[in-house]
Symmetry: D2
Subunit: 154 residues, 4 copies
């Protein structure tokens, strides 16, 4: 887990910064999104909210990662805060670090194709799956349950 | 499993009658429905089709049980056969035995409240859950995966 | 209007047979359907119910025409009666006359391609439109309103 | 029409400012929205897009009015421009003028309760309807068609 790159610049919906290591022992779902992309708003984020509501918080943790690669001026921290409030998104959301590259740092390091992407880590912190675009609720529920049922290797 | 009552009068979508014991070693989902009830047509049966498509046939078996307790004259075997054809339902469907009681025999013996009901059996043939009305795809996918992951007790 | 062929063999949801001439002065929407076809159940019939609920009964009349060209044995009058009851379809429904041809008589005479078809008649009894398959609610609402607004030619 | 107050501060999706008088002779639909409100994104704006696609541009004009009364910092002009681009909203959008009052000027002057609100003007420029929240497509299609069919009083 310590090996997985993770570069949040800021956090919303949490009063202190989080590290991936904080989720050791949990299955972790990271919803990588852009607040102005229809596919994220209509599909990705509501599904992440359903994950949070369906599974027990002692088994699964859900966080968001706002990884903007277009329209930077329209994606201010204030815009994102208002968006999360209005859409009732209550899980912690990291803002990915933007430098000179075409993609934000974490998104680039994870090799993602675009947004929305749902990335799953097992209890031991290993990245086990990433879904770009839509994945059906039933298949996702089964996959998360499979990870929850695994014994953690130490 | 031999103890679970099961009283099919006829079968469709299979060339030979099936017994619950035939599913020993599989998780089994039984969709209990009436072809003329909107909740079965709109929710229960499409969800059973998604179960069949989502999980591997070596782990999960899906069958239907047509348990009619109203409008018997309108639920002939010919009507049901045409209905299954038009709605592209391809899993085996048992027609529950009707005697003098208010409910068909299997439905009554299983203590179901109505249709649609989704009944889940584990690999050892024990009835483990029944959902009357709607259950969300994500929660159902997780529950079925949990049963698939269990070691079969012998 | 007297020239438009119409051959109902039976009626449901009305205590007396109806003729097209009975709707003189109204805009008339006829939903041509088969109770076992998914497109009729999911789209055509619910839209006909919305027509009935949206427009004033003094402007628009809605009836159904059950025109079966497949699975005749599975489409008995008892099945249709039960279907209408369970799906809460309360407008009058005619059962189209079947003879030796491939299509029921009215459906054939009207030159329809299949089911669901929505056929619109103006206040003077002239057939003005037929939609095979899906038509969007907004466009249909506009079209019906256009017919309602016409002065009846006498 | 000249009497109807209208106070746009800026415009997007048009290369010159528009006045209500420019729509004299057309039925005009104004979608009053906030880009961060779920009801506007999920219902109001897609319905306005359907209006634009369903009716002939020589009969109906559609514009948006961005009337923000919360989260001003998160609703910058850059955010709105990016939002319109990503959601493929191509009709002209006015940004309502904000002064010291609780509501933007046009929204306040029109007596609207909130967003989304759809406001309809007839060909003569009179405000004829406003729908706060959801209105069904079929009823809206009929209402717009009724206005289109009216003779313009001069």
């Amino acid at each position: 887990m310590d090996d997985v790159p993770f570069h949040p610049a800021h956090w919303l919906n949490t009063d202190h910064p989080l590290a991936l290591g904080d989720f050791h022992g949990w299955v972790l779902a990271v919803e990588v999104f852009q607040m102005l992309f229809p596919g994220c708003v209509l599909n990705g984020l509501p599904q992440a909210q359903r994950l949070e509501q369906t599974f027990d918080a002692k088994d699964l943790a859900v966080i968001g990662l706002h990884s903007v690669f277009e329209h930077h001026a329209g994606n201010s921290r204030e815009s994102l805060a208002a968006f999360l409030h209005e859409w009732r998104i209550q899980f912690p959301v990291a803002i990915d670090t933007q430098d000179d590259g075409p993609m934000p740092q974490t998104m680039g390091a994870w090799g993602l194709q675009g947004t929305p992407s749902l990335v799953l880590f097992d209890r031991g912190g290993r990245m086990r799956a990433h879904h770009f675009g839509q994945v059906a609720d039933m298949a996702l529920g089964a996959q998360v349950m499979g990870l929850i049922g695994e014994e953690e290797e130490r």
